[in-house]
Structures are given as structure tokens and as C-alpha cells.
Symmetry: C2
Subunit: 200 residues, 2 copies
């Protein structure tokens, strides 16, 4: 683990390119995204980007990895150990972080739809899926051990919550974004209360 | 309502073109779909298709409408009035009908990702969404009136089930299709049992 208080110049560069990619993706969408447009957001030449990433797809696969890292950092940074509160926090982050960013959710849906034809995207989406499901499963298992949750199948419960999250994100790209996500947050809550905390 | 026992030659043509579109979408995916490839599946010239549909997008918007019609026909054709069984039937159809068609789910995800940039697709996906949500809401309301379901917000419960369906379809295009869909069918069942039938 690198010490985040001593950020190297190298990781500053990566962070800046990733932030430029996020802005360009929101502005142009996946289909019209070019390294040139990302370079414009970054404020440097395309060569400065290609020095770090050979192709646009390399850069976008790294961007998916960056999104996972950011998500993990946000969640790990919170000192909450109560399983119930921790699961709430995870679901808040997964469902409500992009409530005002329909453009971002549209771009992510486009990248997901590309994944079956793009090995790099496919592998990175699967890595993100597995790690987030692992986080959900761990907090559910811990809750079962501590008597906060019923004795459910933690792996299935984690998949159920991921299904609600993925459904909400797909729908939020097409329908009213804020309403869809807050409504799905309620659905996730109902699932947790009625299934995970049944008879608690 | 047209009498389905007296199918006109015109609707036979439409049906054949729609079936050819389905096969071509499964084989080539959305990105590589052309009117020429649909015509090959149809066994006629591209002119024979263009006689009915001006553009590929007109044809694909009609195809989305055809999918809704087929779904509605399947469900309306079943004489089940018990709210519980009818909701089960709807969820079986929505989640398990494409369990062996990952290629089709991939093509649908690609079309969905296009919708924010394509007015025809957007309008038709929204029409399908509204009608299927209406069917779910109606059966849930009926169940509440008849005491089979708890006094929940039927509109929200319908959205919750749609969120699970859309999540399952998005995930099934990327992960193990059969496992994802049968797992989500269980999630939908848990939601119905724990939330809709709580304290029944």
C-alpha cells in the first residue's frame, strides 16, 4: 500500500489524466470520446497521454480501475464497524453517488454494452463486480456472525443487492435519474430490512 | 383488436421480418447489424425490407414494439387470475424467457445504451417500460384489494421489480447468463414474499 500523504508526481499525473477522462466522458459520451478530447481536458498534448497509455481502450480500462479505487477509498475511509450502518453506507455510495450525473451513467452504460466485444473492458468490469460483491458479502457475513442479520446466504444476498444497483444504474441512464436512484435506494433498503433483518 | 385466427398476409410479412431481425441481431449484434443481413435472414432483397421500413432504426424501433406485443400476448394468453400466481408468471416471463440467449441480451443492452442518442429507441424503450410497469402495478393493486398482498405502494413495488429485472438483464449480458437470471428470479421472489406478502 502506498502512503497517500506522500503522493508521488507520477500518481498526480495519473490522477489528472483520470479526472480529464471523467470530464471528457461526461461531455462527449463514449462513442465520441477521443484521446484528443481527453488531452484538451488535461491541458496537454495527446503525446503526453500516449506516454502513459498506448491506446484509448488502455486508458479507459485504467479509468474503470480508477473508479473502483476511488469507491474503495471512500468506503475504507469511514470508521463504521456496525454491519447495518456499514451496509447502508455501501448502498448509499453505490446508488446515490451519481444522482446528478446522468451523462456519466450514460457513458458507463455505453462502456458496459461494449464489454462483450472488448476483452479489456470485460475483464475490468468483472474485476470491479467481483470486488464490490466481495465487500457486500463480507459486511453481510459479519452481520450474520454478530446476530445483526438473519442467517441468509451472504453470497446470494450480495448478488441481489448488486442486481438492484445495476438495474438502478441502467434505468437511471434512460429514465429520470434522481427519481430512479432514490427509488432504488428504497428498494435496497426494503430488501435489507425484510430479507436480511427478518425476525431480528 | 384484430382477430388473430385470421392473420392477414400483411401481418405475416411483418412477423417474418421481425423474426429475421431477431435472428440477425443474435448473430451479428447491434453494431454489425445491417438491413442487408436482415434481408438475408428474411430470404428476400433489401428492397423488400425498405418497402416496409425506411431505415434500419425504423425497423429496430418496430422490433422493440414487436417484443412488447409478444410479451403481452404470452401473458394475456394465460387464464390465471390469482394475483400471486399472476405476478409469478409475469416475473418468470420477464426474467427467464431469455435464459439461453446471451447474444440477444447483449444486443438489447447495446440498443439500450444507444437510446440516449436515438429518439426512436428512447421513445420505444420508454413505452415498453411504462406498459410492463403498468402490468406489474395492476396485478399488485389487485392483490392488495383482494388481501393477498400487504398495503404497499403498488407503483413503487412495480418499479422495484422492474429494477431487479433490468439489473438481471444488464448483468446477464456480461456475466454467466443462466446463473444471473435464475439468481435474480430468486431475488424477485424474496422481494415479493418479504415485502409484498409481509404479515399475510
Amino acid at each position: 500500500m502506498s502512503d497517500s500523504s506522500e503522493t508521488s508526481p507520477e500518481s498526480d499525473v495519473d490522477e489528472e489524466i483520470m479526472e480529464a477522462t471523467y470530464r471528457a466522458l461526461c461531455e462527449y459520451g463514449y462513442a465520441d470520446l477521443t484521446v484528443k478530447r481527453i488531452a484538451e481536458e488535461y491541458g496537454k498534448s495527446t503525446a503526453a497521454i500516449h506516454y502513459h497509455y498506448d491506446t484509448k481502450d488502455d486508458l479507459l480500462a485504467a479509468f474503470l480501475d480508477y473508479l473502483l479505487d476511488r469507491f474503495v477509498d471512500t468506503v475504507h475511509g469511514v470508521d463504521v464497524t456496525d454491519p447495518d450502518e456499514r451496509l447502508d453506507l455501501l448502498l448509499d455510495r453505490l446508488l446515490l453517488d451519481h444522482v446528478d450525473r446522468r451523462d456519466f451513467l450514460v457513458a458507463m452504460l455505453e462502456m458496459r454494452a461494449q464489454a462483450p466485444h472488448n476483452e479489456q473492458f470485460d475483464a475490468q468490469f468483472e474485476a470491479n463486480e467481483e470486488y464490490i460483491r466481495y465487500m457486500l458479502r463480507t459486511v453481510i457475513s459479519d452481520g450474520i456472525d454478530r446476530g445483526a442479520f438473519a442467517d441468509v446466504d451472504a453470497e446470494h444476498a450480495a448478488r441481489s443487492l448488486m442486481t438492484i444497483v445495476d438495474g438502478a444504474r441502467t434505468r437511471a441512464a434512460l429514465l429520470d435519474t434522481e427519481e430512479t436512484l432514490t427509488d432504488a435506494r428504497q428498494t435496497a433498503d426494503e430488501y435489507v430490512t425484510a430479507v436480511l433483518k427478518a425476525d431480528r
